[in-house]
């Protein structure tokens, strides 16, 4: 790994929600860094806190959330920044793509106008003509056919894949340095997923953008990410380069996730699944949050919370990490 300062550096991020049931910790101290031109990814089941963590980074959480830790963007602390300054960074230097392109576009504004709005917000005094030209260029860049006609259409006239591409066009309108993609392909079918990933990859290569990919699709991570962070019940359980984590995982949860992938080249009677369900935030297991579902669990796992430490080439939070070998 190179020694350049990361684009974004998240340290000990914690998010709790104030609820009538007390404070619920959704994110329990995660670290994360993305470098220029790199693709970092976060993987985890629904409810593991990955989306919440990213919304916290963007400052988009509702007011009942208590956020602590530090998020440095190019060395500048984002937490505690006045909302005005934060709004200037959002959409200009850090942009976000949402999971559901069907609802994330404003249904009553033309697609072109929405993209043009994103441009105008961060380029005061840009002429209408220039903003329009730039919009058409952006649509072309994300491979939307006939961009000149498409700018004047409403979101409902776009297909799901095209809407997601329009979302990406909107997100990269101001050449952001960091793009956060929250499950960008979840709502799309497989052939369209591949096209979207292609679009994102082209952008990364052509603009040196840093990409933070949040997903539960391991295939997608294997295909395009450099590093992977595995989250479980709000905690970081394993981190490392994609190849190291995929071929030499040191955490039973990651191994479970990898084994759950259906394999087309082998005939299997039943698909592997991790027993049980992810814990609720209200009744989090003591010790290691994964121990009730873990087939390797020993007595120590239910009493003592494992620390994240370096094992071989990865970081793992499992008491037995040293003993887990292929």
């Amino acid at each position: 790994m190179t020694q350049t300062t990361p684009l974004i550096d998240v340290r000990d991020l914690r998010v709790a929600f104030k609820t009538p049931l007390g404070e619920l910790e959704a994110v329990r101290g995660i670290n994360l860094a993305v470098k220029e031109g790199q693709v970092a990814s976060i993987v985890g089941e629904s409810g593991s806190g990955k989306s919440v963590a990213m919304l916290a980074v963007m400052g988009l959480l509702p007011s009942n959330a208590i956020v602590s830790g530090s998020v440095k963007f190019r060395g500048k602390e984002l937490f505690g920044l006045p909302s005005r300054e934060l709004a200037n960074i959002r959409g200009d230097r850090i942009a976000m793509i949402f999971q559901d392109p069907l609802t994330a576009l404003n249904p009553v504004i033309k697609v072109g106008d929405q993209i043009a709005e994103a441009i105008k917000l961060h380029n005061r005094g840009i002429s209408k003509k220039d903003a329009f030209a730039r919009t058409v260029e952006l649509l072309d860049r994300v491979a939307i056919p006939q961009p000149l006609q498409r700018v004047n259409q409403y979101p409902h006239e776009f297909s799901g894949g095209m809407r997601q591409r329009a979302m990406i066009a909107m997100a990269v309108a101001n050449d952001p340095e960091l793009l956060i993609a929250d499950e960008p392909t979840t709502a799309l079918d497989v052939t369209v997923q591949a096209q979207i990933l292609q679009v994102l990859d082209n952008l990364r290569v052509s603009t040196k953008i840093g990409l933070l990919l949040i997903t539960h699709d391991l295939g997608m991570i294997a295909g395009c990410a450099d590093s992977v962070t595995v989250m479980y019940a709000g905690s970081l359980v394993e981190f490392g380069a994609v190849d190291d984590v995929f071929y030499n995982s040191r955490h039973p949860y990651t191994r479970g996730l990898l084994s759950s992938l259906p394999k087309l080249d082998r005939e299997e009677e039943t698909l592997f699944s991790i027993e049980g369900a992810p814990p609720s935030l209200i009744a989090r297991p003591t010790g290691c949050a994964f121990h009730p579902r873990c087939s390797y669990a020993v007595a120590r796992c239910s009493t003592e919370e494992p620390k994240l430490r370096s094992v071989d080439k990865v970081l793992s939070a499992c008491h037995l990490a040293e003993n887990l070998r292929n």
Binding site: L60, G91, A95, M96, T103, A104, M167, M170
Partner: protein
């Protein structure tokens, strides 16, 4: 699903015809009125005849002429009251829903207090304290009517502001006021519009009621409520109250038909 093209139902057509007819009358009556509404044109209390289709009232004025002129007084009042109530109500409702916290609490308690009175009683109280007159009646009706829209708008804003595209707009760096006016409000108008159309009839009725009890239009203004009030004292001369009474019935019905039709077109939840 929305069914464009299928919205032309019988009630909508009736509603459109009625409303268009009365709006045309209100706008053009000055040019083709058969008689002067304020002048004695025949013997007093004459029953309907070919010369005076709806007879004459206690002062010998033509009832048909006065009924047609009534549109010119009653309909603009309803339009103004609904317009102002919608403006004030939806602005306050939008602020309450968008900002929340104590601003929301203050505005909504004010709404609750206003809505806890029977509308006609509150309107009477306000109108009586301001004194009779069509302007004061309008003020009284606005006081009664704005909370309905504040509630509607607040509920709508609360729902729309949680939608994904609003979050996406924040993520692209939109300012707070722009978020409200460009990304939230344009999606909130449907129920307001439907309700406003239906309320035209109700407001018209309330205006007539206030005039009937002497708190609205003052004589000799040819206002429907005031005319019915005149007719009520002449029990055997039924024709005096017939014109204005029927007019109110028909106009209220027309606006309700139109409102129902609009709801069928605009609100997918209500269609069967």
């Amino acid at each position: 699903m929305r069914r464009y093209g299928h919205w032309v139902t019988l009630p909508v057509v009736f509603g459109l015809i009625i409303v268009t007819f009365w709006l045309t009358v209100a706008l053009t009556i000055d040019f083709w009125s058969p008689f002067d509404p304020l002048e004695m044109v025949a013997r007093r209390l004459k029953p309907p005849s070919t010369a005076h289709l709806l007879g004459t009232d206690a002062l010998g004025r033509d009832v048909l002429t006065r009924t047609l002129y009534g549109a010119k007084h009653s309909i603009p009042i309803a339009v103004i009251v609904v317009f102002v109530a919608v403006s004030i109500g939806s602005l306050l409702g939008a602020i309450a829903g968008y900002i929340g916290g104590w601003v929301d609490a203050v505005i909504m308690r004010l709404v609750d207090i206003t809505l806890s009175f029977p509308p006609i009683l509150l309107a009477m109280a306000v109108a009586a304290s301001l004194g009779p007159g069509i302007e004061n009646a309008a003020v009284a009706m606005i006081v009664v009517w704005w909370p309905v829209y504040a509630r509607l708008m607040r509920a709508q804003v609360l729902e729309v502001r949680e939608r994904d595209h609003v979050e996406a707009a924040i993520a692209s760096g939109v300012t707070r006021s722009r978020l409200l006016f460009i990304h939230i409000l344009p999606l909130c108008w449907t129920p307001i519009l439907i309700n406003a159309t239906m309320d035209f009839g109700q407001v018209l009725l309330l205006a007539a009621s206030l005039s009937f009890i002497g708190l609205g239009a003052t004589p000799p203004t040819p206002e429907w409520g005031a005319m019915i009030s005149d007719g009520a004292v002449h029990f055997y001369q039924w024709w005096i109250a017939l014109g204005p009474g029927l007019s109110i019935l028909v106009v209220v019905l027309g606006f309700n038909f139109l409102g129902d039709g609009l709801r069928d077109i605009l609100d997918p939840r209500s269609s069967d």
